[in-house]
């Protein structure tokens, strides 16, 4: 493959201070058939007290569905048929949501909510959780996935965070449209019953130089998109200038500082770089 994937997750500075778990999870897969990154950001409110598990489950669901579904050969075959491509990506999204819900139900069956967990929840949700309703909300998370092959790439996204592509001329684009439901501190979520309608995707046969996906802990460190792009340019420069190991260490060293100075939130980053 012409690409390589990396993933980084660091605990947010404020999470560390408040002794809260890291609620982000990320994944990179460098397979023969495709390269993948996934970033999931569990919600931070008291009602979402198992969102650290929820983000892990989303990453697991992505991995399983990419293994189970025969999507890469199918997309390769139908790459120029927009309708077929959309149908296949929609099916993949449905599978991921379904798998995530299965993992949540299984976890809840093995570990029902404890009184201690329910104590911190707002009363309306506490009542629902206590009678076994809407338990998936406790695990709520966003999800971003990028997959690239030698012939095409696609991105899938629900909730906040950003997917950014960089072309050979170093032009930055945000190919997955913004979800207008993600305003202020609200985000759509894989836990919503309407999750499938809030999934967005992008598919292209024009191969980029690099792809970035990030939880909102990253983009909320920057005043605007230009400054976010400056950060990504520096990542590219670092991987160009240093050995792979040095570049990884530089980034791992910097991300906690970025959280400290910026959003304070957990930070997850998935990078796919052309070799």
């Amino acid at each position: 493959m012409k690409y390589k994937a990396y993933n980084f997750t660091v605990m947010g500075a404020s999470h560390k201070k408040a002794r809260r778990p890291c609620q982000d999870a990320s994944l990179s897969l460098n397979k023969e058939e495709y390269i993948l990154t996934a970033v999931c950001d569990g919600h931070g409110g008291e009602d979402y007290f198992r969102s650290d598990k929820g983000s892990e489950f989303a990453v697991k669901a992505v991995k399983k569905c990419m293994n189970d579904e025969n999507i890469i050969p199918m997309l390769t075959y139908y790459a120029n048929d927009e309708i077929k491509v959309n149908e296949m990506l929609l099916q993949l999204e449905k599978s991921i949501i379904s798998e995530w819900n299965d993992l949540v139900e299984s976890d809840y069956a093995d570990n029902p909510f404890t009184d201690e967990e329910l104590e911190q929840v707002n009363p309306r949700m506490r009542f629902r959780y206590a009678i076994g309703e809407k338990i998936e909300c406790a695990y709520g998370t966003t999800m971003l996935v990028n997959v690239i092959t030698d012939d095409f790439w696609f991105g899938i996204h629900i909730g906040d965070g950003e997917c950014v592509s960089v072309d050979a001329e170093n032009n930055f684009e945000h190919p997955i449209p913004h979800d207008d439901n993600c305003v202020f501190n609200y985000t759509t979520s894989i836990c919503d019953r309407t999750a499938i309608y809030n999934m967005r995707h992008h598919f292209s046969t024009k191969l980029p130089k690099a792809l970035f996906i990030a939880s909102d802990g990253v983009d909320n460190c920057f005043e605007n998109h230009d400054k976010l792009h400056d950060f990504y340019s520096t990542v590219l420069k670092s991987f160009d200038s240093y050995s792979e190991m040095e570049a990884i260490i530089e980034l791992l060293d910097y991300l906690p500082k970025m959280s400290q100075k910026g959003s304070g939130d957990d930070i997850s980053l998935g990078i796919i770089l052309g070799k």
Partner: protein, 243 residues
């Protein structure tokens, strides 16, 4: 070795602005304004602590006082950790309409809400003891057209029985978001509770599925629920009526 990112990357933090909109008309003179000044000064360190330990946003504070006209005490929102409360004096009329107009003007990306792409909706805390003396209805209608205002957590405290609670409910959009304080001790408790709770709720991320009728409650709903719990548990019980 200096990290390659240190000098190149410009990092900023997401913000949530807590607005204090304070009636400083003549009727507030004496123990009302005195208690209010002391109570807000006392709660600032707590808000600062929330801001520093909060995962999602830095809290900034803006203060708007209104009497004969409205006036911003803070030219721009100030980080809670750098904020100090300047004692307000009370005199003059109750230009509530002008306060709504000033708030409307600054609740904009071109003004107080200019920082960081993902800024949180603000929390707006109105304290008043009287009746508007200006033509406020059109100004309040215009304010309700402002998206920042509509999405904000809004709460009001009526200080004493003379406050027009209907106007305060029109401001918050919900009578349950209007509390009445009849003496200094209760006013102090309310200011502390409402400032801290609105800061905590307002500055946190949460999930909402707009198309989902069963979605988690809005921040304003969350906030009102907390207020009702505190009220029902007797946190604001009043032994004596002084105002």
């Amino acid at each position: 070795m200096a990290n390659i990112y240190d000098d190149v990357v410009e990092v900023a933090r997401r913000t949530m602005v807590l607005f204090f909109v304070v009636d400083t008309s003549g009727s507030m003179e004496g123990s009302k304004i005195g208690t209010l000044n002391q109570a807000i000064e006392d709660v600032i360190p707590e808000i600062s602590e929330i801001s520093q330990s909060n995962a999602d946003a830095q809290i900034k504070i803006a203060v708007l006082a209104f009497s004969n006209s409205a006036k911003w005490i803070t030219p721009k929102p100030v980080p809670a950790e750098d904020f100090s409360w300047d004692y307000l004096n009370a005199s003059g009329l109750t230009a509530f309409g002008d306060a709504c107009s000033c708030l409307n003007e600054k609740l904009s990306r071109n003004a107080f809400m200019s920082e960081i792409t993902g800024s949180f909706a603000p929390a707006i805390f109105l304290l008043s003891d009287g009746e508007p003396t200006d033509e406020y209805i059109d100004c309040l209608d215009d304010l309700w057209k402002n998206n920042w205002f509509r999405k904000a957590i809004k709460v009001a405290v009526a200080i004493g029985e003379d406050a027009n609670k209907e106007v305060l409910a029109d401001f918050t959009g919900d009578p349950d978001a209007v509390l009445t304080a009849h003496n200094p001790e209760v006013l102090r408790k309310m200011i502390r509770f409402l400032s801290v709770t609105s800061s905590q709720i307002g500055s946190k991320s949460s999930s909402v599925g707009k198309a989902n009728p069963d979605a988690a409650p809005s921040k304003q709903d969350d906030f009102i629920e907390q207020v009702q719990i505190a009220s029902n548990s007797g946190d604001f019980a009043e032994d004596e009526v002084l105002w």
